[in-house]
Amino acid sequence: MCLGVPGKVVSVDGFLAMVDFWGVQKQVCLHIVDEPVGPGDYILNHVGYAIRKIPESEIAATLAMYDELLAGGAGDLMGQDVRGEIAAGQEKVGP
């Protein structure tokens, strides 16, 4: 919940963006992020909402940290949380 996951914006339609997270594409809401966001930008996603546009100069370092976390094994809580965040939200809930 706390860590969030960075992703690359693929397309934007109003307040909805399609964002790529390590090959998984998901919709992310843009209501909260305080800068204009367009295709190619990187955002930090928290539970389906972009809370920050990642500055150009920080993208490489940010992605490197998550690459390292995702390389962790099954017993690694941080990696599990990040993998869970990336996978979550694809499933349809309810009827």
């Binding site: 706390c2 209501h31 539970v47 909402y49 965040e85």
Partner: protein, 382 residues
């Protein structure tokens, strides 16, 4: 207003795969702690992700013996209070369709968790985002309630979803918490050992680091905003211990790539239109003035507490589990005791069968410590 600094801005990005930088920071931390010349020097962080990183990368084994780094009330699942879980359980058993984040399912209420209610036939859906709950309400004709938990970072998502105009059969049971007020409570606790705070980077992305200036002025304790990489944490601790040594309480932002002084004003505007801060209990810790976020009058029609008569009393017709009485999660989150002080830890209380909330969530102190061998503080391992 205290002096503040945005030091670190413009510095070369820290990379935790940089062993030379890591060794230098560890040495610096030892030197600065030694300069204080007493033990223990106690600082607190308030973020489950910080504890995960500290445990995962074995950072405690590199800390000087005199430095005590305590995890405070930084797990949003853990501090959701028992009566709040009871409200969710009662609503679900009353027949509404309850949606919540997956971490909440096994958190104990007075007698039942949401998972217990589900086993009893209540309809409970785990969602990743509040938007899935809103979408479910649009497809369904029944009442859908989102049991909303978490700190600033998830509260802004709840605010945005309500501002976007959800359908009339949707409502929110808010158990959101706001971090800055609980730091005041911990700072004022009788017998507190906390001499400074490491603030969580992503919550500060929303609030800005300026939110801590009044706290520092009132309590004369330094606050350092830090990121989640091991090097970020080590650099944050060095900065914090330097401020303790110098008796110089101020706010220092060591996570400038994510955190500004003002924070995300758009998010703050949404947050404070939808929510009002009210006093309330944090599980096991204390009543925290302004620590709970409840829906404002403007959004009263979407407030599950005002829409439904929530009857929690019928949940209490049998006694709560006896083990819960021996759980010390509250003391652990307040930083006065650690998991190794708990008689239940790793015995009656394990991740597959948790007694207390701290063993449930992947961001809970007990869960993290259990995952990494029961006692990641290698300095005092027997």
């Amino acid at each position: 207003m205290t002096a503040t600094a945005d030091i670190g801005a413009g510095a070369a990005p820290l990379r935790f795969r940089d062993p030379a930088r890591s060794r230098a920071l560890v040495e610096r931390l030892r030197a600065v702690t030694a300069e204080i010349g007493r033990a223990p020097v106690s600082v607190m962080h308030v973020c489950g992700s910080h504890e995960q990183a500290i445990a995962r990368f074995g950072l405690r084994s590199t800390f000087p013996p005199a430095l005590d780094v305590i995890m405070g009330p930084g797990c949003p699942v853990c501090i959701t209070d028992v009566p709040e879980v009871d409200e969710g359980v009662a609503l679900a058993l009353q027949g509404v369709r309850l949606c919540t984040y997956g971490d909440m399912l096994r958190v104990p209420g007075t007698v039942k968790s949401l998972a217990d209610a589900h086993a009893d036939g209540a309809r409970i859906d785990v969602v990743y985002s509040i938007d899935q709950a809103v979408a479910l309400a649009r497809r369904a004709s029944e009442e859908v309630v989102f049991f909303a938990t978490g700190f600033e970072t998830t509260a802004v998502a709840t605010a945005a979803a309500l501002l976007a105009g959800p359908p009339p059969n949707f409502s929110v049971l808010s158990a959101h918490k706001y971090i800055p007020p609980v730091m005041e409570i911990v700072a004022e606790m009788p017998g507190t050992r906390v001499e400074g705070f490491l603030a969580a980077g992503h919550a500060a992305t929303i609030t800005g680091w300026g939110v801590f200036e009044d706290f520092v002025a009132a309590h004369r304790l330094p606050v350092v905003v830090a990121g989640f990489e091991p090097l970020d944490i080590l650099a944050g601790l060095v900065g914090l211990v330097e401020l303790v040594r110098d008796g110089a309480p101020r706010v220092v932002n060591l996570f400038p790539r994510c955190v500004t002084r003002e924070g995300n004003r758009n998010a703050q505007a949404a947050l404070w239109r939808v929510f009002v801060p009210t006093g309330g209990r944090w599980r096991g810790i204390a009543h925290v003035p302004n620590g709970n976020l409840r829906l404002s009058d403007e959004f009263a029609t979407f407030d599950a507490r005002r829409r439904f008569r929530i009857d929690v009393s019928r949940l209490w017709d049998h006694a709560p589990p006896r083990l819960l009485a021996r759980c010390i999660c509250g003391d652990i989150m307040a930083g006065t005791r650690s998991p190794s002080d708990c008689a239940l830890f790793g015995r009656e209380c394990v991740p597959d069968d948790p007694v207390g909330a701290c063993m449930v969530s992947s961001e809970g102190t007990c869960r993290i410590w259990h995952q990494y061998g029961g006692h990641p503080d290698l300095r005092v391992q027997p």
